[in-house]
């Protein structure tokens, strides 16, 4: 028997045993059998450790200026080289993980909350509330989100908290639609109707019977949302409208390298932050894909 055949048999065995597991264990098991998702989770784990322990791991202070090594190519002293003012690129990449990941997580937490509340209300209350909220959602979806974020950060002034706030404020419409759709679908299912007949109140049915089942698709959406938020922060910082100097951010490192003199002559200054952004987003997309399979959620969104 070939390896792949053994793998298939093992998979079928695993599927046969599935009914004995609790839903949580089953999801975990499916996630772990998704090879790309595990790779993504490992990459993210390394990045998270970098972000949390940046002070310990980074070889230099990210803002320390080394006047003897200005804009140098990678060497034993500075593994990824130094930027135009002599700061260690590797240290700035490591600290940059802190910015990217925290922007991603916090901004998504903000808009998930908004989308969850609005979508839940629209789906469960229905009637005029549904109409009002969903038309508002439709309106917000007409505006290009990235442009609104740029304008708001332009008005408030570029800094870390304004970036998080702007991404958080405009990211919710997709989530609201998702939650509403799920609630509408679940509300009509037999077990929810049964719970209502058995005397569960409207709120009780919503909180105890409907919302737990929305968690799966929401987790997937949140994961992919973090990837989107990291891209948005990188794009803002790249345009000089995000995290500003001297805070190290991957997007602003690319912004520093925009002048033709650096872009053409010192490519190491933009390659490493570019790869960092791509790798982080790729890893999170892998995780999202694995979660989607694990929760068995179908999605047809075009990215």
């Amino acid at each position: 028997m070939t390896d792949s055949a053994i793998a298939v048999v093992a998979e079928v065995d695993a599927l046969d045993r599935v009914p004995e597991l609790s839903p949580g264990r089953r999801t975990l098991r499916r996630f772990l059998s998704h090879r790309l998702a595990v790779i993504g989770a490992l990459i993210m784990a390394v990045m998270a450790v970098c972000a949390i322990l940046a002070d310990v791991i980074a070889p230099y202070d990210p803002n320390q200026i080394d006047l003897l090594h200005l804009a140098e190519s990678p060497s034993a002293v500075h593994l990824l080289g130094t930027d135009a003012v002599g700061r260690d690129a590797l240290s700035r990449i490591i600290y940059g993980a802190r910015i990217s990941l925290s922007v991603g997580v916090v901004a998504v937490a903000i808009y998930m909350t908004i989308g969850f509340v609005l979508g839940g209300l629209a789906g469960y209350v229905g009637g005029w509330a549904d109409n009002l909220i969903m038309r508002f959602t439709d309106v917000m979806m007409c505006f290009p989100t990235f442009v609104l974020i740029l304008i708001l950060v332009g008005i408030l002034g570029p800094n870390l908290s304004n970036v998080v706030f702007a991404i958080g404020l405009f990211g919710w419409p997709g989530i609201a639609r998702l939650v509403r759709g799920q609630v509408l679908q679940l509300r009509e299912l037999d077990y929810v109707i049964a719970a209502r007949i058995l005397g569960a109140g409207k709120v009780d049915a919503l909180v105890r019977h409907i919302l737990p089942n929305v968690i799966g698709p929401l987790t997937v959406a949140a994961t992919l949302g973090i990837a989107g938020a990291i891209l948005a922060e990188a794009g803002l910082s790249f345009l000089g409208l995000g995290v500003v100097q001297p805070t190290p951010s991957w997007g602003s490192m690319l912004n520093d390298a925009r002048s033709p003199a650096i872009m053409a002559v010192k490519p190491w200054l933009w390659i490493s932050p570019g790869i960092s952004i791509s790798l982080a987003v790729l890893a999170i997309n892998f995780i999202g894909d694995g979660l989607r399979d694990a929760f068995d959620v179908r999605s047809r969104a075009v990215g």
């Binding site: 309106v139 505006f143 290009p144 990235f146 609104l148 008005i155 790249f238 053409a264």
Partner: protein, 321 residues
């Protein structure tokens, strides 16, 4: 169907209302005096402060907010989106002037994205689990994960700086005629590719998933059981059902495309609406920013309307719910 189209058209009204309310709100949140933004600056130079106060009353800017909103909508409907603070010119005129340059990037991008993305997605689905399928899926992951500006940097560095086969700046070589010519196409290659890449990946993933769904559908099993040739099954039963919804997906891509053009036009110094908008944000030119936001939103609204109605023609099952 006529009823569906009528109801879909009616839905546009509250959306336009909402778009104008949100734009108006942000304008009023932005710093600066709306009166100076609404008046023709040439004219304003000759006015005394008493005159300006008079204009304020004439334009109704001393009125309560709801009345001011109605006045602003009336002006917007007449094409007056205010004047740019920096350039002292009407916003609508400035945006329309830059629009052809932006379309020169976005139309080819979206066409390439749809043909390439759908083509790859369909092939990948027809050969599910083949090497081609794995490679296409992997490429799609990279396509949605690598930011457009990093992709642009790589293209500029490799093709523009190292190999020197493509220009990396502007729409035409300086000194050359500024018309639709090969020079323009040459300059457009990199920005179009950078703008299209994420969309190619998106359409590929969509088309692959939709095809797989459709291939497993019972009507396909039935068609095969009837003895219809595989080619006919694929063309008549699978493609049609899998790819029809793409019509609406194409409409949904517009906001991402507009957002992406802000970044890509800036990198390549491409003189379109995106670069205009980016400059407006850096210069705190609020009337210009809001004009661009309003016009983008209306464009998205119309695109969705057109795709919904087009979908209703290609798929007779559609009914308004």
């Amino acid at each position: 169907m006529t009823q569906y189209i009528l109801r879909r058209l009616l839905l546009v009204l509250p959306l336009v209302l909402g778009i104008t309310i949100i734009t108006f709100t942000i304008i009023n949140l932005a710093p600066g005096d709306p009166i100076t933004a609404m008046l023709d600056p040439q004219e304003m130079r000759q006015l005394t402060s008493a005159d300006i106060e008079q204009r304020r009353v004439e334009l109704g800017l001393n009125q309560p907010i709801p009345v001011r909103y109605l006045i602003w909508v009336r002006e917007a409907l007449h094409g007056n989106l205010g004047y740019s603070i920096q350039e002292k010119r009407p916003v609508a005129e400035m945006v329309l002037e830059k629009l052809p340059a932006s379309l020169a990037l976005s139309l080819p991008s979206i066409l390439i994205a749809i043909t390439l993305g759908v083509g790859l997605g369909v092939l990948a689905a027809l050969r599910q689990y083949s090497l081609f399928d794995y490679l296409a899926t992997a490429a799609a992951f990279f396509g949605v994960s690598v930011p457009g500006f990093f992709f642009a940097f790589m293209g500029m560095y490799l093709l523009g700086v190292k190999l020197q086969v493509l220009p990396i700046f502007g729409m035409w070589t300086p000194g050359q005629p500024t018309e639709i010519n090969l020079d323009l196409v040459h300059h457009a290659v990199l920005p179009v590719a950078a703008l299209a890449i994420a969309h190619v990946a998106g359409y590929m993933r969509y088309a692959r998933a939709a095809m797989l769904d459709s291939l497993a559908a019972e009507y396909v099993v039935t068609a095969r059981a009837k003895g219809i040739s595989e080619v006919a099954v694929q063309w008549v039963h699978v493609f049609r059902n899998a790819l029809l919804p793409l019509v609406t997906i194409a409409g949904l891509a517009l906001p991402t495309l507009i957002g992406g053009s802000f970044v890509i036009e800036t990198i390549f110094s491409w003189p379109g609406v995106g670069l205009l908008g980016y400059t407006a944000i850096l210069q705190r030119d609020y009337p210009l920013q809001m004009g661009i936001a309003l016009m983008s939103a209306v464009a998205v609204l119309l695109a969705n309307l057109v795709t919904d109605i087009a979908y209703c023609f290609v798929d007779p099952r559609i009914r308004y719910d």
